[in-house]
Chain length 218, copies 2
Amino acid sequence: MDKKVKILLAEDDDNLGTLLNTFLKNKGYEVDLARNGKLAYEHFSNRSYDFCILDVMMPEMDGFTLAREIREIDKRIPILFLTAKSMKDDKLQGFELGADDYMTKPFVMEELLARIHAIMRRTEVVTHTQNEVYNLGSIRFNPELRILFLQEGEKKLTTKENQLLHLLVKNEGEILDRHATLRAIWGDDNYFNGRSMDVYIAKLRKLLKEEPAIEIMN
Amino acid sequence: MDKKVKILLAEDDDNLGTLLNTFLKNKGYEVDLARNGKLAYEHFSNRSYDFCILDVMMPEMDGFTLAREIREIDKRIPILFLTAKSMKDDKLQGFELGADDYMTKPFVMEELLARIHAIMRRTEVVTHTQNEVYNLGSIRFNPELRILFLQEGEKKLTTKENQLLHLLVKNEGEILDRHATLRAIWGDDNYFNGRSMDVYIAKLRKLLKEEPAIEIMN
DNA sequence: AGGTCGTGTTAAAAAACGTTAAGCCTGCAG
DNA sequence: CTGCAGGCTTAACGTTTTTTAACACGACCT
């Protein structure tokens, strides 16, 4: 059975924000509404979403910057921009960031929905987000349950262990930016958090040492 | 090396058709132009395409019908509609068929290109699993794994070593501008970074000394 | 010739990273 | 309320990577 699709909605306009929020919720989506880019990023760091709808013009952090940050963490997540401006340059800049689509306000709700569907259909190939379980050699990892299945038995992961490993396996094979990772999980990139992360990297390496799947740092 | 992307372009308007055809070809795509839906379908049956751009209003077979037919053969191929009508219903019907996007005429060429890129980026993820390996005489270099294969054995490269060597081999034979290179890897072109780079150049030269493949400077 | 500019090279200093262990919270059982 | 366990952070120390410093050499300019 399909799990509920989680949408991150970043929209500073109270009116439109609430409207979209309830509209999408009625359509069966799970929606988190953030009033500005910074809050949106915090949300994004804390949970895993399936879809992002970002207003371009927002206080604290604009939509494009937010998209860039989000893309550092998740290269594949679909992003749809909402823009009041109809300038060509804006649109293009958005697409360069890997936007999947954009809509110019004002728009018809149904069309938004249609576009979401269109994008999702396209991405569902890659997004095998059913029961997401990762197979790392002989080890299995279930981020939902926060459990690592080793030969010797199951190992329950702590919150941080889980977040970090999850992020790592999601971007398996690719290179993660240290600082982006830090901001994603610890929320802030400073010396001590960095050290803390190193500690976790060490822990995970130890846990996964039965497989020659190494984590490399940037 | 990337294969050329093959686009099926179905457009009955001679003017726009030719225009798009040459425009896309100039952008490096391989394009087949069909003057109506039926011809387009024949094309599609005969070769494999990576992308479809379909006009909605066409003689013989309209774009939506064509899309349905195409979808029977290939469920995943990206489809982008061109429509002169701006009616909401049309748009929706298109999306229901699994359109990935649509554009309303008239449109700006660059925007079309941007949308194509946006859609391709999605599908590309699956395909783009080529691992680039360079052969430098008897030495092999894999930038992905950051490993240099020498006679004596493998040498793991550090981040900077890897970045620099990668840039160098990518532009093998050509002349790289020192300052551009610096900005590309170090992000900033100042005295110390320049010195640092010189140090790495020296390192790489030492590593590659078994081959008379020298790096020349600006 | 003297000077400085750009680069080559090597060595030392500094920063980043890996690892282990000790310290510090916080929630909870006794 | 006290102590203990689990989870996270900080400290401390070793190793690797990157930057900075130092010296050198030839091209070019005056």
